[in-house]
């Protein structure tokens, strides 16, 4: 009984930080259903410099879908940017699957001279911030004439070593006996990888893909540095261009960008947690 009461108190206390954490998201969602008039009333002091202070209500007084329809019907730009985001993210993830999964398998399950060195190299590269790689990648993209193209954003990201590291951890955990048994049955290296490695390591692959999706859907630095043509921009660069004057469009576009990420998050939360935790456990 005493334990239950204490539990109740802790839960109750934790509700405050939780409320603070959720607030920005609720805020963005509530903005979607507000009419331009209501937004102006609340945010006038921020938007137009009218007297007084901004106010907000998480529940719109007169819920409306007009900003949503305006965005979806009247701004073809939005669709172009949304599609750009999808293309970039999926392109990167597909490339990471093709090259990263075998690389993780090779690092995790084979021993050859230099393996340790390669592992350290991948770890170091995974941890390098974009600012270190900004100029090097610019130089390559320039040489390959890939600046200001989607391929120029996708290709360097495909060879990010982060997913390799995550999947490595999962492949590493597969018991040796399983593979030995397959070897005795005469399975070759490729067969073992495809028939045993991939199915048994699938949790790691999914984890890496979810972490990757959240990262690249939110990508800002790379497109900002390498894409000059506005028509190629992803949503993440387009949104900040919508000023407070068009708050209705702004909130709606923001939520449209948020929804795919939230769906991936909710659908894959278990894998996401496993992926995060994979980095915490030492080898």
């Amino acid at each position: 009984m005493k334990k239950r009461i204490r539990n109740f108190i802790i839960t109750f206390l934790l509700c405050f930080p939780a409320a603070v954490i959720v607030f920005p998201v609720l805020f963005a969602f509530s903005g979607v259903f507000m009419s331009g008039y209501e937004l102006k009333q609340y945010l006038g002091p921020v938007l137009a410099g009218t007297e007084g202070m901004a106010r907000w209500s998480l529940i719109p007084q007169m819920p409306t879908l007009s900003p949503l329809t305006a965005l979806l019907i009247d701004s073809p730009q939005f669709f172009v940017m949304f599609w750009n985001s999808v293309k970039l993210t999926l392109g990167i993830l597909a490339g990471q699957m093709l090259t990263g999964v075998p690389a993780a398998w090779g690092l995790a399950r084979f021993s050859f001279p230099g393996r340790k060195l390669l592992y350290t190299l991948y770890l170091v590269l995974m941890l390098m911030p974009f600012q270190v790689l900004m100029l090097p990648q610019y130089i390559v993209l320039d040489r390959l004439a890939l600046l200001d193209t989607h391929a120029g954003i996708i290709l360097p990201a495909v060879f990010s070593t982060f997913p390799v590291f995550i999947m490595y951890r999962f492949f590493h955990g597969i018991p040796e006996e399983v593979l030995e048994a397959a070897k005795i049955d005469g399975a070759g290296n490729l067969q073992i990888f495809l028939r045993i490695g991939i199915p048994l390591g699938s949790a790691g692959i999914v984890s890496a893909m979810i972490l990757g999706f959240l990262e690249y859907w939110n990508m800002i630095e790379q497109p900002m540095t390498y894409l000059k043509t506005r028509a190629l921009w992803p949503l993440s660069l387009f949104l900040p261009e919508i000023g407070l004057e068009e708050a209705g469009t702004g909130f709606t576009a923001a939520v449209m960008m948020l929804i795919p990420a939230l769906l991936v998050f909710l659908g894959g939360q278990d894998y996401l947690e496993q992926g995060i935790a994979a980095a915490a456990v030492k080898e």
Binding site: L14, V25, P102, P136, I276, A277
Partner: protein, 284 residues
Amino acid sequence: MRKKKIRKKHSWAGLLFILPSLAGVTVFTLIPFADVVRRSFTAAVTGAPVGFGNYRTVFANTAFRLAASNTLRFTLICLPLLIVLSLALAVLLQNLLFGKNLLKSICLMPMAVPAASVVLVWKTLFHQHGLINALLEKAGLAQVGWMSSGYAFGVLVVSYLWKNLGYDMILWLAGLAGIPTEIYEAARVDGAGEWRCFLSITLPNLKSSLYTIAVLSFLNSFKVFREAWLVAGDYPHQSMYLLQHLYSNWFRDLAFDKIAAAAVVTAVVVFALIMLLQRVWETD
């Protein structure tokens, strides 16, 4: 002996699996980075060797000093704050009977929220006539120029904490799950209280997690640039002018010699930190 033989036989096949990835890494990262190291010792336009000239220019640059000291200050304030808060959350959450999963989801959610999606929210909250100042006014307190004074730095700290608290909490929970429950049971039998258990069992057992979490948090701290840039643009208030701003501004000005030297310096610092982490991993 036989096992060793099997391993040896398969050894080069492993490299074949890695080859496509390694080829890409070499082309897109290794070779160009080597080129940047070379460039950091040459003049941008003529390509003439200048020795450590670029490095001297960078370290003497006032913008670099400002950005470096802001970045350092940001790290020194945020890391301990984030690490302690997320540990507290993890420990509290671990023992919960109900609502555990919901609270966990909520704390982790900001990780999924693209920075661009909340930029309007941030702007309305921290504007001079925004919601936070409105609250302050109601409470009879003075208004604060959040984005136009030293408080901008605080906004940055809050953004970083908001985004990373859940991530670090999951890392701590993984560390906590690795502590055998028998130790706690034995200690309780000996009459140790909650607090005593926390100090004598939980904390010492989390030591190796601490290093990992510190390094990962440090590296995630570079990404706070997204929020900073979205809210305040290329030239924010000087209290939140970070190395990331400086690099992207130099890049726009095509000051490649300075960026090359600065990138090498950053790489060396990060590399040293990682090596430190690896030694810690290996020793315990």
